[in-house]
């Protein structure tokens, strides 16, 4: 990050990287920080227990006592949306980090060595990308059984391919660069060249993709929750909440609206970060 920002600054004078960041990046970071804080302190902030039933009669509209209303079982929706943030942020984070590490290592290996490791990876990528993302995740979870752990396994098995493809492409373009040959001429091992010289030069596009993948994972988690294959009730999760409220969408729209808004707002902040980072990268590469 500091490398990127000093390059953006374009001179030997080093400003703190946040000072060089544009407003979209600041808003995105502040927003995610706020969502994260709300999630972390949910037990302190939330007015009720997330699984407490019959606090009021079911499906009461938003009021002073229940800002977001209550659901069909009389649970407080504000409380449940706050608690659900913990699960959904975890889904986004774990759903990015594991495939990111897998994809980056495999993509780096294929891109650096080219030749047959690359040919094998290419075939694997073709096969996995031939299936729609969600269908493949659904199929794997259906096979392994519902639950968050199996969901992470499925996500990791499917989406590392995207990271591997990005990193492989970048690495293939970089491996012919002079500094890689120069590093070899200095007697550095292949592993050292891959991870200390090549990796910092190819990782940024993968991180940028990770931001949009974060959103995709939350949506996938929500979709699986909707089908009953993800997080199991009564644990609050935005997708599950929407799924459970779908029958009352006309009579009690607040049941689906608030978790829906939570997904949209979180996705918006993460996308802002991703877009700004990719803008910075593009600017640096152009200069």
């Amino acid at each position: 990050m500091s490398a990127v920002s000093t390059m953006a600054a374009g001179g030997p004078a080093r400003r703190p990287w946040l000072a060089t960041a544009g407003w979209p990046l600041r808003i995105g970071l502040a927003g995610i920080l706020a969502v994260g804080t709300l999630a972390a302190f949910a037990p302190l902030i939330a007015p009720y227990e997330p699984t407490a039933l019959g606090l009021a009669q079911g499906l009461t509209p938003p009021s002073a006592a229940h800002w977001f209303g209550t659901d069909q079982l009389g649970r407080d929706i504000l409380t449940r949306v706050l608690y659900a943030a913990r699960v959904d942020l975890q889904i986004g984070t774990i759903g990015v980090i594991i495939p990111l590490i897998m994809g980056v290592v495999i993509g780096l290996f294929a891109g650096y060595y080219a030749g047959w490791p690359d040919a094998i990876l290419g075939r694997v990528i073709d096969v996995v990308t031939a299936f729609p993302f969600l269908v493949l995740v659904l199929a794997i979870v259906a096979m392994l059984g519902p639950g968050l752990r199996n969901f992470y396994i499925a996500i990791s098995l499917v989406s590392w391919v995207a990271y591997a493809r990005i990193v492989r492409g970048e690495a293939l373009g970089m491996r012919g660069r002079g500094y890689i040959l120069a590093a070899r001429s200095l007697g550095y091992s292949d592993a050292r060249i891959m991870f200390r010289h090549l990796l910092p030069n190819v990782i940024v596009p993968a991180l940028v993709f990770g931001m949009s993948d974060f959103v995709l994972d939350i949506l996938a988690g929500a979709s699986l929750g909707f089908f009953g294959l993800g997080v199991q009730p009564p644990t609050p999760e935005w997708g599950v909440m929407i799924a459970e409220g779908r029958n009352f969408i006309i009579t009690a729209p607040w049941v689906v609206i608030f978790p829906g808004v939570a997904i949209i707002v979180t996705s918006f902040f993460v996308s802002l970060i991703g877009d700004s980072v990719s803008d910075i990268v593009r600017r640096v590469r152009a200069s």
């Binding site: 001179g11 660069r177 002079g178 120069a182 070899r184 001429s185 200095l186 007697g187 550095y188 030069n201």
Partner: protein, 341 residues
């Protein structure tokens, strides 16, 4: 014959998969502390010769022959042994300083890494050595500049940093592949002087590859002229400059713009032949004024014309006519030390 040679290259041949050889039986040796130059036009195989020594040939290229360094046969070493040799004993600098430095590594760290990995020094000691090295290659205010990234330096400064990296672990042989070609003339002279000074200081041997006769003439004790993958002339620099023994060498000298002050630039007609369709004899014959049928009939051996001076030409007795064209030029310019010392 020369038992104290540091590097000995014997019958080196480089072949790209499924193709004809692009380096054909090149042999030369470099003594301790000696500077040896390889000259030739682009595509003559001089860079591949250089990379073959470090076993860093491009993908698909293989080499045969013998390369001995001290008592070790480099082509027979294991990969890890070879790796340990690179950077510590034999180092290399490349043509384009714009791409030879890792864009995301601070230059001080890049130099310190070389020292750490080859000399086993701690981070602190390596950093101090790195700063000394930066200072030695002429980067002012090294302590502050060490934290900068390559893109914050000019081409000449980057090449200095690249040199500092290559020399950080005190190699005994430096391979310099067109080290100044990407730089402007003034900076070129500075870098060449720096290389020359460092070589003398560290008692290092130098293999300098260049297409520019002046660069090699100014720096090297002996020179080899390459054409179409073959050495066509080999000898002490002064002898080759004063009395070139191959028509191609004369042509190469005649096509230096600065060497023909007041005269006419005389480019060599034609282009480098395709390695797939070389005549059995002299590869230069199709472009040579002196060529006769015998030139292309059978392979021509590198023969000694005077002590230590070798040529691959059977028309040596007719070379005087060509040399006269050279006499019209100003040889002192060609011989002149590019560093101006």
């Amino acid at each position: 014959m020369r038992p104290r040679d540091v590097l000995r290259v014997e019958a080196l041949t480089v072949v790209f998969r499924g193709g004809a050889p692009v380096v054909r039986g090149v042999s030369f040796e470099i003594a301790p502390g000696e500077a040896f130059g390889l000259v030739g036009e682009s595509g003559s195989g001089k860079s591949l010769t250089c990379r073959a020594i470090l076993r860093l040939l491009p993908r698909g290229a293989t080499c045969t022959g013998r390369i001995t360094y001290g008592a070790r046969s480099l082509l027979d070493l294991g990969d890890t042994e070879m790796q340990a040799l690179r950077g510590s004993t034999i180092a290399m600098i490349f043509q384009d300083p714009m791409t030879a430095l890792n864009p995301v590594l601070r230059v001080g760290d890049a130099i310190a890494q070389v020292i750490q990995s080859h000399e086993g020094l701690g981070a602190r000691a390596a950093r101090i050595r790195a700063l000394e090295m930066m200072d030695r290659v002429g980067i002012r205010d090294a302590a502050r500049r060490a934290a900068a990234y390559p893109h914050e330096f000019s081409g000449g400064m980057r090449q200095r940093i690249h040199i500092a990296m290559a020399l950080a672990a005190h190699p005994t042989l430096l391979l310099a592949d067109e080290p100044t070609t990407a730089l402007d003339v003034v900076v070129q002279a500075e870098i060449l002087r720096l290389l020359d000074d460092l070589r003398r200081e560290q008692g290092m041997s130098l293999l300098l590859v260049s297409h520019d006769f002046r660069v090699v003439a100014g720096l090297c004790d002996r020179v080899g002229v390459m054409y179409a993958g073959e050495l066509v002339e080999l000898g002490p620099t002064s002898m080759v400059l004063q009395r070139p023994e191959h028509p191609y060498t004369i042509g190469l000298m005649n096509s230096l713009p600065e060497a023909v002050v007041g005269g006419r630039l005389r480019p060599i007609p034609g282009t480098l032949p395709d390695p797939e369709h070389l005549p059995p004899g002299c590869a230069f014959a199709p472009r040579c004024e002196l060529a006769v049928d015998a030139c292309t009939a059978t392979p021509i051996a590198l023969t000694q014309t005077s002590l230590g001076h070798w040529s691959r030409c059977i028309r040596i007795d007719r070379l005087d006519a060509l040399r006269r064209s050279l006499a019209a030029t100003d040889p002192s310019l060609a011989v002149k030390d590019p560093a101006g010392t």
